[in-house]
């Protein structure tokens, strides 16, 4: 943490510090609020929710909603719970994140260390893909996927996520590699390493921080995506679509406790990624992306 906890030269008085702590804790409570509401209510029986205070702790604790959301809740015609969809999401997210990160790293490498005439134009054009509203690409994307025979398949979904992810991953890696000394690449060239060898042996081993940023970003975006999943997921729909089916069911009693349990279950992987890798996040941002 040495690099991150580099202290400011600013010193503050006791009253100021108390005030600062107070503000920080208040905001922490604000950020935690929805998670608290979800957590608390997922542990209550249904009648306690409809009658009681949404902030109150359960008077009768129960894990039944969690069990139900995971394995017995009605998602489609089958009462499967979210379990099978979890696997669908994993099968889609892992390759999509890996591919888009690797491509982004290679692109960033080319755009900083193998510059050519017009490279900034190429990069600028690629970057704009980050800002395109996904709703507009739905129909043409369907045409393309249909032509490729990938409609309604996991590879199709991976393709879509990779395509709209490489703008961001390229941006991250480009900015990171920009501050990586070009002399190292030159030294490696003289040493006889080729294009891929330099990437593999010299750049990749030091790309940890930015890879974390890229993976976090891509993982959360892809995991949380609903629009592409519902449109191109076919029968291997991701977790978000299943959660939506669980929560949005048109008629019948709304089992809010199950909904909340399901929502937390669906969010668990992304939460985990943030908590585990979050400490590298600021470092990664520091190492380049903010400078973009």
């Amino acid at each position: 943490m040495a690099a991150v906890t580099q202290d400011t030269a600013v010193s503050t008085g006791r009253i100021t510090r108390t005030f600062i702590y107070l503000v920080l804790v208040l905001f922490a409570l604000f950020y935690l609020l929805p998670l608290y509401v979800m957590g608390v209510n997922s542990l209550k029986p249904l009648n306690e929710i409809t009658g009681g205070n949404m902030m109150a702790l359960p008077s009768q604790w129960t894990l039944e909603p969690w069990r139900s959301a995971w394995s017995t809740a009605q998602i489609g015609v089958e009462p499967t719970g979210l379990k099978p969809y979890f696997l669908n999401s994993i099968l889609m997210v892992v390759p999509a994140v890996a591919i888009s990160t690797i491509i982004g790293a290679l692109n960033g490498y080319v755009l900083t260390k193998w510059r050519f005439r017009g490279d900034t134009w190429v990069f600028g054009l690629m970057l704009f893909s980050c800002f395109i509203p996904f709703q507009i690409v739905l129909i043409p994307m369907a045409v393309v996927l249909g032509k490729l025979g990938l409609a309604g398949t996991v590879p199709g979904l991976i393709l879509v996520h990779v395509v709209y992810g490489i703008g961001f991953t390229t941006l991250y890696f480009r900015n990171y590699y920009a501050s990586f000394p070009t002399e190292l690449v030159r030294a490696a060239m003289i040493d006889g390493a080729g294009f891929f060898r330099i990437f593999w042996r010299i750049l990749l081993p030091v790309s940890g921080p930015i890879a974390v940023v890229s993976v976090i970003w891509q993982f959360t975006n892809i995991w949380n995506d609903f629009l592409f999943g519902v449109s191109f997921g076919g029968t291997s729909q991701p977790m978000t679509v299943a959660l939506n089916n669980l929560v949005q069911s048109s008629t019948g009693v709304k089992e809010y406790n199950v909904h909340f349990a399901g929502a937390i279950l669906a969010a668990l992987p992304t939460l985990l990624v943030y908590i585990v890798a979050g400490r590298y996040f600021v470092r990664g941002l520091m190492a380049g992306s903010v400078k973009g």
């Binding site: 002399e183 390493a193 060898r197 030091v206």
Partner: protein, 370 residues
């Protein structure tokens, strides 16, 4: 034909030409220093020799083989970078043998080469460390070691000492010189530091604005600079340049100067052909060490001219005392013996060794040849 030939090489980025027809032949075992201010094109030239930048026109040959378009790794060169460019993820040993590994040299042979070089540079104890754990001087040695292990035809150094502190820089300079004398390798060395250039090289190419201003031995460069740029760039303190007019006296050309109080001095040139410049303005160039107190003047010189002038500032520097005065409206620095009795504001008798004086054409800034 030399060992390393740079023939009519130019470099352009689009319409901007950054190197103009560079032509240098380096002999085997020579230590060539490319020196010049930043942006003069010296690093670009070095990168072109290394193959890191394409050659726009002309050709570069190593041992008679034209290497234009040849991949850097196939030119049998090694390079030491300004930032050392040590791979941060590898140990010192791995760093040094990476190139051999890339060239498919078997492990036992790599280890042997590594051991030899590590011994030579006295870095045996560092081999298992990562570059991040090394001091600046150690990194410098490792970077050189990495180059030495390869046993290349040509060593390229890109400002290798500029990241070191002053003391270490002097030590390493000596070390490089020793290494060169011991190994007799061919070296091309880029620096912006003229002292490095003068101390290390067997030959110097002074560059400015994409042109080689002068190519020659350190002595040639120092004593007979080709033009005003070389004269002022090389040497510290820089050569004094004073506007003067050539006048004839007793059949000899003299430089007419005015001192701080408006008095006119005539100093006789040793260079007879300046008679042709009679009545014309020139720029007189005199190195500080050629202006001394009379006792400190060079006894071997046949042309010591005395004159007196008022002193503005004195700067004792231990071994010498630097004295500033005004001549023809310019600040001029003289180098005295440490014990010379000089007081600011007082007039003092100086001796100028006019054998060392050079004259420049104010229009072309080129030296007027003898």
């Amino acid at each position: 034909m030399g060992f390393l030939d740079i023939r009519n090489v130019t470099k352009s980025y689009g319409p901007v030409q950054v190197l103009h027809r560079i032509d240098i032949a380096v002999e085997e075992g020579e230590f060539l220093v490319l020196v010049g201010p930043s942006g003069c094109g010296k690093s670009t030239l070095l990168n072109m020799i290394a193959g890191l930048e394409a050659i726009t026109d002309g050709e570069i040959a190593i041992k008679g083989r034209v290497v234009n378009g040849v991949h850097p790794s196939k030119r049998n060169i090694a390079m030491v970078f300004q930032s050392y460019a040590l791979y941060p993820n590898m140990t010192v040993g791995q760093n040094m043998t990476f190139g051999l590994e890339m060239h498919g040299v078997p492990k036992p042979e790599r280890d042997r080469a590594l051991a030899d070089v590590a011994k030579l540079l006295q870095i045996e104890t560092l081999l298992d460390r990562k570059p991040g754990q090394l001091s600046g001087g150690q990194r410098q040695r490792v970077a050189m070691g990495r180059a030495l292990v390869r046993n290349p035809d040509v060593f390229l150094f890109d400002e290798p000492l500029s990241n070191l502190d002053a003391k270490l820089r002097v030590d390493m300079r000596t070390e490089i010189k020793k290494l060169h004398q011991k190994l007799k390798t061919t070296i091309v060395y880029v620096t912006h530091d003229q002292i490095e250039a003068l101390t290390l090289s067997t030959r110097i190419a002074v560059m400015n604005k994409g042109h080689v201003q002068q190519l020659g031995t350190p002595k040639e460069i120092y004593d007979t600079p080709a033009n005003l740029f070389v004269a002022t760039f090389m040497g510290s303190p820089a050569m004094n340049i004073v506007p003067a007019t050539v006048v004839m006296e007793n059949g000899h050309p003299h430089a007419a100067l005015t001192d701080a109080d408006g008095g006119v001095h005539r100093l006789r040139f040793s260079q007879a052909n300046l008679a042709a410049w009679e009545g014309k303005p020139i720029l007189l160039g005199i190195r500080p060490e050629a202006i001394t107190d009379p006792e400190g003047a060079d006894r071997k010189s046949g042309n010591i001219q005395p004159f007196s002038n008022r002193v503005t500032v004195t700067e004792p520097a231990g071994s010498d005392t630097f004295v500033t005065m005004t001549l023809s409206g310019k600040d001029v620095i003289a180098r005295m013996r440490a014990d010379a009795n000089v007081t600011p504001g007082q007039s003092f008798d100086f001796a100028i060794n006019m054998e060392k004086a050079v004259a420049f054409d104010p229009a072309t800034e080129a030296r007027i040849p003898a």
